[in-house]
Amino acid sequence: MDTSEDILQQPAPDLVRGSETARPAKAARLSPSFISWLQAGPMMLVFLAFFLIPLVFVVIVSFWDYNEYQLLPAFSGRGYTDTFEGCIAQLPDLCTIAKTYLKTLKLCFLVWAITLFIGFWVAYFLAFHVKSKTWQMGLSLLCTIPFWTSNVIRMIAWIPLLGRNGLVNSGLMKTGLIGQPIEWLLFSEFSVVLALVHLFTFFMVVPIFNSMIRIDKSLIEAAYDAGATGFQTLVNVIIPLAKPGIVIGSIFVITIVMGDFITIGVMGGQQIAAAGKIIETRVNALQFPAAAANAVILLVITFLIITMMSRIVDIKKEL
């Protein structure tokens, strides 16, 4: 919330120009801060009604009790204690929730690292090597292709490709590279990471591209003139200036992957635990308080990660 307000209050060049042209005509008496509030207002109300209030409900319900068929509005920590069941008793073995989060974090880290690597270079190519605006637009639209089909179809389509009798396996067998089909191509962590990277690289490309396109080209020329190598320019000029994009892209990818259970479920053959999956099972068993407790835990952990990331880069300032 406050980021968007700050943006509006700061004299960002575009906004000032916009309000100056509007001012003499109508809004001469409205103070600038009131206009800012007016502009931020609708989004704020939407956030309040559809995000903050439901979130408060989730937190409240997470402390309720429940039975087979209803919520019991009495204070109870059962949702939480059940979730952490066996965490101390089973030491040194990990309990379900710890295992699940470790697995989710591992997948999340892998997907983040790979999408960042691929996304960075795709954005770099788009920003510095593609000269025409039209081509830049066209090529970045190509990145949205994975979103053209529904989740389910996309998942099912992997089977003929990666399956035991799929295209990749039969191709490799024909060339004689392998004697037996490779089993870990599908329904494994590999396939989960592959599908997630395939889906979410786009969320890295766009913000990084957006940061890169705003880098003043004369800075790069200056670096070149000062005798910097390509690599030095990349590390000392481009990456620092693209940081806000990198952080925003990372936030997108991490929050989506932390909460995902459909892709992990389908590509992992329902055999890989995910934080979101626990919530789904609980909701399906009508154990809403336990589901809410798990949602709160997931939220807190994701929030911690995001906080750490924004420690590295002050997004507010950078924008």
């Binding site: 087979e68 068929y69 099912i156 035991r164 053959g269 329902q270 055999q271 626990i278 099972t281 399906n284």
Partner: protein, 429 residues
Amino acid sequence: MTETTRKTGVSRRTLLKSTAGLAGLAAGSGAITGFPYVMSAEPKVLRYLGTAVNEGDDISKQCLKDTGIKIEYITATTDDVTKRVMTQPNSFDVLDTEYFSLKKIVPSGNILALDAKKIKEFDNITPVFTKGETPGGKKIGGQGTAPWKVLYLEGKDSKTFSKTATEFVTLIPTVYNADTLGIRPDIIKRPISSWAELLNPEFKGKASILNIPSIGIMDAAMVVEATGKYKYADKGNMTKEEIDLTMKVMTEAKKAGQFRAFWKDFNESVNLMASGETVIQSMWSPAVTKVRSMGIACTFQPLKEGYRSWASGFCVSKGVSGPKLDWAYEFVNWFLSGYAGAYLNRQGYYSAVLSTAKANMEPYEWAYWMEGKAAEKDIKAPDGSLLEKAGSVRDGGSYEDRMGGVACWNAVMDENDYMVRKWNEFIAA
């Protein structure tokens, strides 16, 4: 979540036309006879919440034709149906759900028991539901939430299941079946006769079980018992120790790489089997039929330990009253009158009233589906597509053999909460 409201039967345009026609007719007849007859102009609409099993377009079309009742399907998964009954009891009129969910639904007070006296064919309902035996007198296994345990309530607004027959029926039975493992005989190439084969290392990385806890746990229990590791007092109502033991066996198998994948949805199970990713897995009858209709060999294998059965039926939302309640009775009576029963039988399910379904089927169809005889002619699905060539025999044989071989029913246990947690642990292992 995966919920769509399908408006089937008639398109909006034809509905508009016909209602306009009806209104015109009503107005016309009113003008002639002097009757201000409003009722006939009001369309009879029932919102029908259920899983896709019973929700055929042909059924709703025929129903509209026979009774004038327009059925609006609300399709959801089994879990979502229960969730909806709990949270939005006013969003549907007629509920089509499974007996095992009654343990959750009845105590919530969100449904209305139906009056057996108003159900014309009630006395002709198969004894599978009322007595727990087949028409031929074979005793059916009652472990789990068997329908006869939860069929009656003690009183109209009672929340207690009655042990003896009363006139207050929780769910009027409609459809049921006996499930077992599906196999790929062309790949396995040897006879399979026990649930224990699911954990046979021979099928390492080629087995699957379904990931719906209340059904999956029953399949798991059948497997554990078949391996001789443990004999349950009641598979459908395990103690915490029994749940631990069951999940331990399954977890060890999972860690050893026995399972290729778990499935959650009908189409997933079809894909796994058809693509050869799995060769043995828990399966539902129409999924086996679908794999076979793709030209791939697939058998719904009868096993010596018996079948895991399920059953569903109709009740109405507590919000339904007045003429709507009458339509609901009219609809349920129509459903049991034969057309729908024959339709379900032709899909490989079983209908609750056998006599009326039989009257609506060809003798050769009845012989194939119900008597376990070799098909005299090609067997066709309700939509006319070819299911089986003449000469083939149904997997598992006759109704008597299949329903008589049921060992347990889908269940909600007393320790359901604990079981769900353990199931999550199994997935995370």
